[in-house]
Amino acid sequence: MSDMNAENEILDIINITDGVDDGAQQYLTFELEDEHYGVEILRVQEIKGWDNVTPIPNTPEHVCGVLNLRGLIVPIVDLRLLFDMPFNPYTKTTVVVVLKVEGITDRIVGIVVDAVSDAQNVRPEMISVAPDLGSVVDTSFIKGIANIDDCMLMLLDVDKLLSVEQVG
């Protein structure tokens, strides 16, 4: 039941901002710790509440396991752990964003995030190149950063972020 509520809330948020400007791309934004990230909304297949997964033995820690998504076996990746951030126990607002990843073969992968916040219109001129942080942080999967309402939004390159090598 709590899952349902969470899901409905999310859907409400998305419905509010569904107008699209010319040339703007819509991004689904979500939070990790206090950081804001965005993924292209067209890559989002669905958003669902956290559900128990089946762990897969001998896989990196960020791979939570696999989930049955209407007959598909979908791996779920904890984005915090993938980014080497401290693990945050899952609560009822913990959300799984199911994404379509394009590569040699197209795959479906779910990511666990703290909370989904908004759907944002981002025009190309708002995006600036991700700064090189040297060896501190690997930024290759950040497509760019956008400043929205004085808040830095990191736009993720889903294909690079969730490539087979990265996830496996």
């Binding site: 089946t54 762990p55 033995p57 001998n58 696999v66 049955n68 076996i73 899952y90 609560t91």
Partner: protein
Amino acid sequence: MSIDVSQFHSVFFEESFEGLDIMESGLLSMSQGETDDDTVNGIFRAAHSIKGGAGTFGFNNISEFTHGLETLLDQIRNGQREASHDVIETLLSAVDTLREMLTAVQDGSDIDTEKAEQVSNALEQILHGSAAESATTEEELPPAAESIEVETADSGVQPETQTQAQTWLIKFKPLPHLLQTGNEPIRMFHELAELGDLSVEVNEEELPPFTDLDPESCYLSWELTLSGDVDEAAINEVFEWVDGDCELSIERLEQYEADDEQAITTAEPEPETEQADIDEPVVPDSSLMEAETAEAPNVTEEVPDAIEAPTTTEVPTATEAPAATSTEVTPPTQAKTEAAPKKKAVTPDASIRVGTDKVDSLVNLVGELVITQSMLGQIGDNFDVSMLPQLIDGLEQLERNTRELQESIMRIRMLPISFVFNRFPRLVHDMTSKLGKQVELVLTGEQTELDKTVMEKIGDPLVHLVRNSLDHGLETPEKRLAANKPETGMLKLNAYHQGGNIVIEISDDGAGLNEEKILRKAIEKGLVDPNESLSPDKIHELIFLPGFSTADQVSDLSGRGVGMDVVRKNINSLGGVVEVKSSPGIGSTFTIRLPLTLAIMDGQIIQVANQRYIIPLISIIESVEVDLSKVNKVTGKGELYKIRDEYVPLIRLTKVFNLEGGIDNLEDGLLVIVDCEDYKVGLFVDELLAQQQVVIKSLETNFRKVKGVAGATILGDGTVALILDIPGLMTMHKEPTLVKKISTARVA
């Protein structure tokens, strides 16, 4: 109302490819000297169907190409030409080219015209060559005369016929069911038009009123006048396929003279003929149902609405047609070819042919399922406890129905392995001639059935193994004779069922694996420690290591070093195993063991540390409670369990999978003895849960391959359970690499 012919394309391609297979296997058996009428006729029929079909769908270059092929085949069929080695080789390459052309058309890509031309030139050359030959054998002719002879041979049929302009009157009255046999009058007329000047008159007297009209019947008859240097046999050939489905008379009119242009003038745009002309080119473009449109113009006043659609769509053809008939009947086909490229990239629909009995049994089962469903529905409508036995009965019935239904469906997916085996005669034929070896291919167990998906994936590995045997295994005739073996080598492909597996064996009586060379190479590549002593079996295993190739020279055929490891990988990914047995000088045998189906299997659900896994039921031998006195430790770590007279290695799933919270004390759990390739293994689990059929899903679709896991499935409660891969577990057990602890408690 107009029919989109492209919907029939996939059927055409499928049939054509089947036809090509028939031609290929026929030609191969001919090359072994088994020329009988049935084979030749079979090949000819296949070529003819492809030609006809290609013409119908407007793939003109294919039909033209096939025409040359057909002519040659016809000569062989009529005994005018000997099926010599060269002729058959050319025909085989023509079959290849045709296959490439068809594939190109199917994919919507461009046809390699250059190659097609080469091959069709080769065909021409054979056709020409013989004419010249026969001409010279008849009598020594001066060069000029010879060239005339050649020209006539070119036109195809019966070079010795008089080639004077003649006029033929052909009365062609098809029986009503002609269209249902798939024959197209216009196709035949087109073909006639290629022979000479053709004019056509249609007779529509028998056309019934529109209300009585059966659109699938042919009510029209035609009177055709054909002038040109044509002989009766050529005309007969056009009508060969409708023989018995029509009334046909072919008369020879007086010699065609220049002034006597009756035939042509009638075709000139006089009102009535034009009417006729409009009518019949429409029929032809049609597939069966469009016969209706042909009739349309005659009933326009009565049903204008119904006519609108067909007439508008057919306008281009109809308008072009009158002009066409008076001159030549080709333009409509040209119009078609222009249209063809637009319908690019016909996506090839995968389809399988299923016996009607299999479908019938499915229908019956579905019937039973419906009955069960309604019975259960009734029970559910007003349920009280007294009906419990009935409910249980009903559920049992449902279970039975479901299982039977599933088994029938699986049977539909099963195809005989001959689908894969059939490609090998050609492969062997081609390769042996390239390698200068003599090899006899023996196929057995071709009727062994195998799941279609497995079949599709096993093809390439098999080809690789066969190539390897031919290239590396079997020796040249000289070497064989020197080794006191028959000159002709033997390559056997065998398939049979064993338990829930299908076994495919590829064996040759060649030199066997060169152990010394393999070992040397392995040491060279640092795969093996030079001081290590390996058993012959272990050495044979080395060939499956990545990057291993002993071929002295990288040949076109094999030896690129991407061989056996890929073969093993592919077979493993199908849940199968491949192994090799070899003895020097006697030969080697590769054995592939595959699961019968990839889709569904019987599974035993087990529990280990709060996790549920599935063991394929087929690999379970028994489950025993552990008797601690039978557990033997090896160097204090490895555990062996003595079961009857055997010691089996004991694998703790908690260890290989790094699970927390499982049972440690052997006495509290259960030992599942499973069959792992050649030996037995004991899997230590917490407890056994239910047995059930599971649908196998791949983890690789969205994730990647996981060691020790063959796949995943969805249990009744919607959660995912992993299916264990026993051989994989064994490897993991041998080389334990700890990655992480799985924590099952993620939720706060």
